[in-house]
């Protein structure tokens, strides 16, 4: 077993920063009660100005006159944590959530993504694109990887022997020992993990109890690691809120791109697609505007989803400025990638057909694009359908059938036409009320057109035009 630990030291701050365009303005996260407001996290420009984590808000305001203070939201941080777990699920089926970290089992994934240096750079690339600062370490145990990631970014320990050597010099206060053992042991002259591991076990058990020994066993790989594996949720729900009001649809594109990017990340990890999702634009006083984005087939590519959503959103009238946006995807059907020919002769920059159809639908309307299939009904009005789900036997038509059909028959004017074929009697439809009784002819009009016309039986000459043999 090999475990990779992705430590997210600035999870809460990065979750806030990634939603904003990058600026050099100082920004802090604030937590605590109304009487004792303290800084929870500070960004780089704020730290350069002398602000630090744990500082009182009043002290920070005395140091720096202009900075943005955002309320720390534990629920949002938890949300980002879960989103990243969904991302990690793409690389491994064993994903465990640790405080401020994600640990994934990679020994089985190395065959696909490996070797480790390439795999690691892949992870870092993804995290940078998502906008999260990170530290990554690899170790034979999950707990050991978690500890090593806190000590040394990029450390990769493959064997138990190397792990012993890597753990030995670690100072106890960084070893994440349970129950405050990390603070009392240095007072006894035990400063590193190596010293602690050499101590007799019964003495440790007497003084600190069983949890410390269990922890040390997990760390060195001598004992079992019991962890609750992460399972991705079945729906996707992400909300983004901003402090100012957005009045124009164009300004919604940046947050939309982020939301869709997160959705695509989640879908890729789950190996699923999305066929229908809802964008809720929240306003200050009225009910939220709902924009439903429906696709012809399950998709998961961020660019395609973004273009579809943008097409729908651009046609939307905003009754009021928007203060928050929410993306809800409940139906996540399996994603089936389209098959491509190895010897594809199409131009290299070709847009896939599905993407083209989505683009047309986005601008022209949901019902603007359809396919026809013939049914077994002999009546011309019912002989074809746009439905996709009807599976019907192949029937080959032997009688002449036109290529154009008029939506409804119209009287044929002009000089009397020349009859080329017919009559063909269609008399049916008693079962659903669409009863008809017609004699169909193929005629040539004076203009040279080939027409499909009918007349009621026994009334030749009163032609009704129903189609063209174009």
């Amino acid at each position: 077993m090999l475990w990779a630990c992705v430590l997210l030291p600035h999870l809460a701050l990065d979750g806030v920063l990634r939603r904003r365009p990058s600026t050099d303005a100082p920004l802090v996260l604030v937590s605590g009660s109304a009487q004792a407001r303290t800084l929870f996290a500070v960004n780089t420009p704020a730290r350069a100005a002398g602000l630090y984590r744990g500082q009182r808000l009043t002290a920070a305001q005395a140091l720096l006159s202009q900075f943005e203070a955002v309320e720390y939201d534990p629920a949002a941080t938890e949300h980002w944590h879960r989103l990243l777990a969904a991302w990690a699920y793409r690389y491994s089926s064993d994903v465990v959530l640790f405080p401020h970290a994600i640990v994934l089992e990679v020994s089985k994934s190395l065959g696909l993504f490996g070797p480790w240096p390439r795999f690691e750079s892949q992870l870092r690339e993804d995290l940078t694109a998502l906008g999260f600062r990170h530290r990554i370490a690899l170790a034979p145990g999950a707990q050991a990887a978690y500890v090593l990631a806190g000590i040394h970014d990029g450390l990769a320990v493959m064997t138990p022997d190397a792990l012993q050597r890597a753990l030995a010099p670690i100072a106890l206060r960084y070893a994440r020992l349970p129950d405050g053992a990390g603070t009392s042991l240095p007072a006894m002259g035990i400063r590193t993990l190596g010293q602690l591991l050499r101590l007799p076990r019964d003495g440790l058990q007497r003084r600190f109890g069983a949890p410390l020994l269990v922890y040390l066993d997990r760390l060195t790989g001598a004992g079992p690691e019991l962890m609750e594996a992460y399972r991705p949720p079945d729906t996707f729900d992400l909300r983004m809120e901003w402090t100012h009001e957005i009045e124009h649809v164009e300004a919604l594109m940046f947050p939309l791109r982020r939301l869709i990017g997160d959705l695509a990340t989640y879908l890729a990890g789950r190996d699923g697609g999305v066929q229908r999702f809802v964008l809720e634009l929240e306003h200050r006083s009225t009910a939220p505007t709902r924009v439903v984005v429906g696709l012809l087939a399950a998709e998961r590519e961020a660019a395609l989803l973004f273009e579809c959503a943008r097409g729908r959103l651009e046609r939307q009238q905003l009754p009021q400025p928007v203060v928050a946006m929410r993306l809800l995807a409940r139906e996540l059907p399996p994603f089936v990638p389209a098959g491509r020919d190895l010897f594809d002769t199409r131009p290299t920059n070709a847009m896939p057909l599905d993407q083209l159809r989505e683009r047309l639908r986005a601008r022209l309307g949901e019902q603007s694009i359809h396919r026809l299939r013939s049914t077994i009904d002999p009546r011309p009005e019912y002989a074809q359908t746009t439905a996709d789900n009807t599976r019907l036997p192949e029937v080959t038509e032997t009688l002449p059938r036109p290529t154009w059909l008029l939506d409804r028959p119209i009287p044929l004017h002009g000089p009397s036409p020349i009859i080329l074929a017919g009559p063909e009697r269609l008399e049916t439809g008693w079962w659903d009320g669409g009863d008809l009784r017609r004699d169909y002819y193929v005629v040539r009009t004076s203009q040279g057109q080939c027409a499909w016309v009918f007349c009621a039986p026994g009334e030749p000459g009163r032609w009704m035009l129903h189609g063209w043999f174009a």
Partner: protein, 158 residues
């Protein structure tokens, strides 16, 4: 791009194309029909060998139809695109021609016969005539001499 000039609808214009469309759709390539004047009648098309599950029918108003046709041609994923630009000017047709070249797609544009006198950017211009019998006159043929005599066509309904 091929421009087909018609005296009226339903003189056999699709008859010219259906063998090509049948070949494309049987090879699994997409054909898009943008804003047709009438509803395509699936039994009739299938009787001539077209696989209707590869035929996309786009309904759009005239202004969007040109945009849609251009998108389809440019995408490179369609084998053929059929369009009926009613009031398209020379510039719009040129855009379609360029899009068809970019996407390596066949564009078929149907227009009224009265446009025959105007110049056109189409690579091939065909005019359908019904008098004295159904025949095709080649008005323009890029890279070759247009035959001086019209080519007769057989009746289209059988």
């Amino acid at each position: 791009m091929t421009e087909i000039l018609l005296p009226a609808d339903g003189v056999g214009e699709l008859q010219l194309l259906l063998p090509t469309l049948a070949r494309c759709t049987r090879a699994g390539r997409a054909v898009v029909v943008v804003a047709p004047p009438y509803m395509p009648y699936a039994p009739g098309w299938e009787a001539r060998g077209v696989v209707m599950s590869h035929v996309d029918i786009v309904s759009a108003d005239p202004r969007d139809a040109l945009w849609a046709a251009e998108q389809c041609l440019r995408s490179g994923s369609c084998a053929a695109v059929l369009a009926w630009p009613a009031q398209a000017d020379d510039r719009a047709l040129r855009r379609l021609q360029v899009a068809a070249d970019t996407g390596k797609a066949l564009a078929f544009v149907f227009r009224d016969r009265r446009h025959a006198a105007h110049a056109s950017p189409a690579a091939l211009r065909l005019e359908l005539e019904t008098q004295p019998s159904l025949q095709v006159r080649v008005r323009k043929c890029r890279g070759g001499n247009a035959p001086s005599r019209p080519v007769p066509l057989s009746a289209s309904w059988s």
